[in-house]
């Protein structure tokens, strides 16, 4: 990346209300056209920081440089041409049509009476187009759904023709579709218009996938900043939000909930993606899971790790070794139930089928999701002792009734 002058540069900033600092000694630098997400628990000071960046609050100490000039030295209208905001509160300006509302964004560019010139109109219409809200233009703002409103708020900010758009929790109250819409619109603004987006977000998974840079805010300080690929490891996210029973997996980009495991131990013989959904289901229903032998490049492995399962793992491309088999067998011995997830059997995980045979030999209840002809092929006569299930739901039913 070229080392150009940053649009926003924060030096040793303390922010807060009424001289009581919420965040201290913040040093951040925002380049043109980057998407920056602020992550952190509620009340960490994200909103205060954003409002200070937008010039809506005066910093307690330190300075905010906008294009190299102190934010306090700007005239309000001048600053409005550089920074636009989208705040959390619902705006209810009364009887405004969508297009009239978006046209308010032209405020810093229009004359004394706010008259719209040709150029203003074309900016407004292209702003509406960019957020896919052209068809809303004639509707009343008060009649829109939350999702439509948020898009219209974005259009208003865009109509201001700013270099930076600051958003406070832009996806709050939105359904999944509009959440995705809003995020992809923001991404588009960033890529196509070179607008710097600074947004506080709650969805770590979305933030990690969409932002160029994340800043972590906690305990009165910015505890980390950088590309999400570098910053967001499972531990940092868990620490940021004080997760007790959940984990963030950067590779999957999702949060997994660990259960309490009170309903007993289950050993799942899985692999090649057959276990992922099953693990989540079992954890959700309160089982503690153990699994193996998995290769460390297997999706099942990532999910199992995030769920806090006991996991016996082998390096990729290597066949399951005797040692690992014995470790897995020890887990089988401890388990109350054994489940065969119906993994495809190949040269490298051949031994996993032996685990099932071992479990049967130990007299454990063994459930299988595999088709009958396959089980016969692998387990010969033993297959009669398996409890066959057609799907995960049936499996749960059978586990419940088994005792």
């Amino acid at each position: 990346m070229k080392n150009t002058r940053p649009v926003l540069d924060i030096q040793n900033l303390s922010v807060g209300y009424k001289k009581i600092p919420v965040l201290n000694s913040v040093n951040l630098c925002f380049q043109k056209g980057v998407f920056v997400s602020l992550l952190g628990p509620n009340g960490a000071g994200k909103t205060t920081l954003l409002k200070t960046l937008a010039g809506l609050l005066t910093p307690i100490s330190g300075i905010v440089l906008v294009n190299g000039k102190n934010i306090a030295d700007y005239k309000r209208t001048e600053l409005a041409g550089i920074i636009a905001v989208v705040l959390t509160e619902k705006v209810s300006p009364g009887l405004f049509s969508v297009v009239e509302f978006v046209a308010q964004g032209r405020y810093p560019h229009t004359d004394f009476f706010g008259r719209m010139q040709k150029k203003d109109l074309s900016v407004v219409s292209s702003a509406l187009k960019m957020v896919n809200a052209t068809e809303l233009a004639n509707r009343q703002l008060s009649n829109l759904s939350d999702g439509e409103r948020q898009k219209v708020y974005l259009a208003r900010a865009l109509a201001q023709e700013p270099e930076v758009i600051i958003l406070d929790e832009p996806t709050m109250h939105l359904d999944l579709k509009h959440r995705m819409d809003v995020m992809s619109i923001l991404r588009k603004m960033c890529m196509e218009k070179g607008i710097t987006i600074i947004a506080s977000l709650h969805d770590v998974d979305i933030a990690s996938k969409i932002s160029d840079c994340v800043a972590l805010v906690k305990n009165g300080a910015v505890t980390g900043i950088g590309p999400p690929e570098k910053i967001l490891s499972g531990n940092t996210v868990a620490e940021l939000y004080d997760f007790d029973d959940a984990n963030f997996n950067p590779a999957l980009g999702s949060i997994e909930f660990c259960g309490n495991g009170r309903r007993g131990k289950v050993f799942v013989a899985a692999g090649m993606g057959t276990g992922a959904v099953l693990y989540r289901l079992l954890v959700k229903k309160g089982f503690q899971i153990a699994t193996g032998v998995l290769h460390t490049n297997d999706l099942d492995y990532y999910v199992a790790e995030s769920l806090g399962a006991d996991c016996v793992a082998q390096t990729p491309m290597e066949p399951v070794s005797e040692d690992l088999f014995n470790m897995a067998a020890a887990l089988v011995k401890q388990a109350d139930y054994i489940i065969d997830a119906g993994f495809p059997v190949g040269g490298q995980n051949q031994l996993n089928t032996e685990l099932i045979a071992y479990a049967l030999a130990q007299g454990k209840p063994v459930f299988t999701l595999r088709k009958a002809e396959d089980t016969q092929r692998f387990l010969k006569s033993d297959s009669e002792n398996l409890i066959a299930c057609q799907n995960e739901i049936q499996l749960l039913d059978k586990m419940n009734s088994h005792l």
């Binding site: 809506l56 309000r76 705040l87 705006v91 706010g114 109109l121 407004v124 509406l128």
Partner: protein
């Protein structure tokens, strides 16, 4: 695409002109009817003769020039100013149920006027200097407003604000009643008449103050319409779009207190015009754009108040009813309707 948006933004331009011309016609009609009807019947042809030939010698001429025209003008201006004052306050508090009367601003003005009219403060003046009463009303309006604003900045709830305004109104009334109790009976009569509210008895100087001071404030208010529109989105959005909030707050308060104080000082407290007229204007034009609402409220406020004045003085003639009685009959139901369907906000 561009053409479409042009159409969208200005689609109501024709309707706009139509409504403005209609309102203007109503205003002229209201003024005309107010000037020609009364205890002495003056035919339309006589009226035009008097107007265009400047007859002031005859009784009819005297009545038209010295009584009816000032009164009609005063009621039109008073209504217009109160309506704009109310509109500004509604935007300022972003609350549809505020107005100069409700927020205790009229009561503050009443208190200060009672001080001037009933105590030694004003007795040194020969007659009653209209400037002094105006000044007192303005100070009273401003004082009450500053109290309401300082409380409003601490609480966000509209209902709290409303109750605060009412309480300030009661307090002012309490102090006023104490002043009345100690005042001389002769002075009290004048004050009581003033307090009932009436647009009668406007003299040339008073009318001039109304026209010029009020006119200036109206122009200022209209000049504020762009930031007023931005302010509808909330203070922070307005600030982020380039509104100088501090200056804007001062100007808007100056304007609304000035306008409300001006009318109150001459005509006494007039209820509900400042609250109801902006709403009706909003409904007529179905917009919240203050560039349209300010001139609209001027026309509609003038028309309605002029009609109310006409009703006040002709319904039980020769007994003249207080103007607030009529405006309340018309305004109070509107407030109730608004409270019932709160979805029409500012």
């Amino acid at each position: 695409m561009d053409n479409m948006t042009t159409e969208i933004v200005f689609h109501n331009k024709k309707r706009l002109y139509l409504f403005f011309s209609l309102l203007l016609v109503f205003l002229i009609a209201a003024g005309g009817i107010n000037m020609t009807t009364g205890s002495m019947n003056i035919s339309l042809s006589d009226f035009f003769n008097i107007i265009f030939k400047h007859f002031t010698e005859t009784t009819q001429g005297f009545i038209v020039w010295k009584i009816r025209i000032p009164r009609a003008l005063a009621s039109i201006l008073g209504g217009a100013y109160l309506a704009v004052a109310g509109l500004l306050l509604q935007v300022f508090f972003r609350n549809p149920i505020v107005g100069p009367f409700i927020l205790g601003i009229s009561s503050g003005a009443t208190l200060m006027v009672s001080l001037v009219m009933l105590t030694a403060l004003g007795l040194g003046m020969p007659g009653l200097n209209p400037f002094l009463v105006t000044l007192a009303a303005f100070i009273g309006a401003g004082g009450a407003m500053i109290i309401v604003v300082s409380i409003a900045s601490k609480v966000k709830s509209g209902v709290t604000l409303l109750i605060t305004g009412l309480m300030i109104g009661y307090l002012c009334h309490a102090v006023t009643s104490v002043i009345i109790a100690f005042a001389e009976a002769e002075n009290v009569k004048g004050f009581t008449l003033w307090q009932l509210g009436s647009f009668s008895g406007f003299k040339g100087t008073e009318l001039n103050i109304m026209i010029f001071a009020g006119g200036l404030l109206l122009i200022l208010a209209f000049g504020l319409s762009k930031p007023l529109n931005a302010f509808l989105l909330g203070e922070e959005y307005a600030s982020s779009m380039g509104v100088n909030i501090k200056l804007f707050r001062i100007l808007i308060l100056l304007c609304s207190c000035g306008l409300a104080g001006l009318v109150t000082s001459f005509a006494g407290p007039v209820a509900f015009i400042g609250l109801a007229v902006p709403h009706i204007t909003r409904m007529i034009f179905s917009t919240s754009d203050n560039r349209i609402l300010i001139p609209g409220s001027v026309l509609l406020g003038g028309t309605i108040t002029c009609f109310c004045d006409l009703i006040a003085r002709s319904l039980f003639a020769p007994v003249e009813l207080p103007i607030s009685a009529i405006t309340s009959f018309f305004g109070a139901p509107i407030v109730i309707i608004l409270l019932l369907k709160r979805n029409t906000s500012v």
